[in-house]
Symmetry: C2
DNA sequence: GCTTTAATTGACAAATATTGTCAAGTTAAT
DNA sequence: ATTAACTTGACAATATTTGTCAATTAAAGC
């Protein structure tokens, strides 16, 4: 059961599957290979713009990749916060409340 | 039905209830009144450290305030992202998966 | 309607965090 | 041992956040 948990793993797997080198993809992204290497290994966060580009370069579903990306940003935000999970739930409820409000407006 | 939606509203309401001036609370927080004014009106985000201090100064429940604070940070992170809600749910699932993993370890 | 005090606003500065480059170091295949 | 791909870490550039200050507005008491 080998799941692609992180966005980095997804990117690396797909890049290798397409037989592309870090150098090549990095060039298209317009960054040093060092950056892409770090992104793939989860040592650095990508910018949203880069995720969009990577989806195109690697033929990955853009929505999926962005959801993945955003969820990692969210988790980063609450990393080692005891109350992180509670906060997540509260955030969801606030969104829902807003959604229903929208309908009324 | 007047709810305290934002952390700013909570802070302002409680400060006024205690009869404290911006100036006074700001001094304890060690920032200019301008900052606190902006925090209360939601124009600026507070730092976590400040939230902790404010809970103490204003006798507010620290956990509640931090949850509120974190949830606002999360929402800020996904503001005007179409896929924000999806990302939130994915983030929650990842946390849960990790929790159950912890039990196994 | 003055005066005084509190709060707000906006331009700017300082501090911090993010993103990037580069060069040297691994790793692995030949 | 050479070569090509990748990794690592120090540091530079950029962007974002957080803060100060001075001027303005708002409200309360006289």
């Amino acid at each position: 059961m080998k799941e692609n948990n992180s966005i980095g793993e997804i990117l690396r797997k797909q890049r290798e599957e397409k037989g592309l080198l870090l150098r090549q993809v990095a060039a298209l992204l317009d960054v040093d290979t060092a950056i892409l290497s770090k992104i793939e290994r989860g040592e650095r966060k990508a910018k949203k713009e880069q995720i969009v580009q990577l989806a195109k370069i690697l033929n990955l579903d853009q929505e999926d990749l962005i959801v993945q990306f955003l969820s990692e940003r969210i988790l980063y935000e609450i990393q080692d916060e005891e109350l992180g999970e509670k906060a997540l739930k509260v955030a969801e409820q606030k969104i829902k409340k807003n959604n229903t409000k929208q309908i009324k407006d």
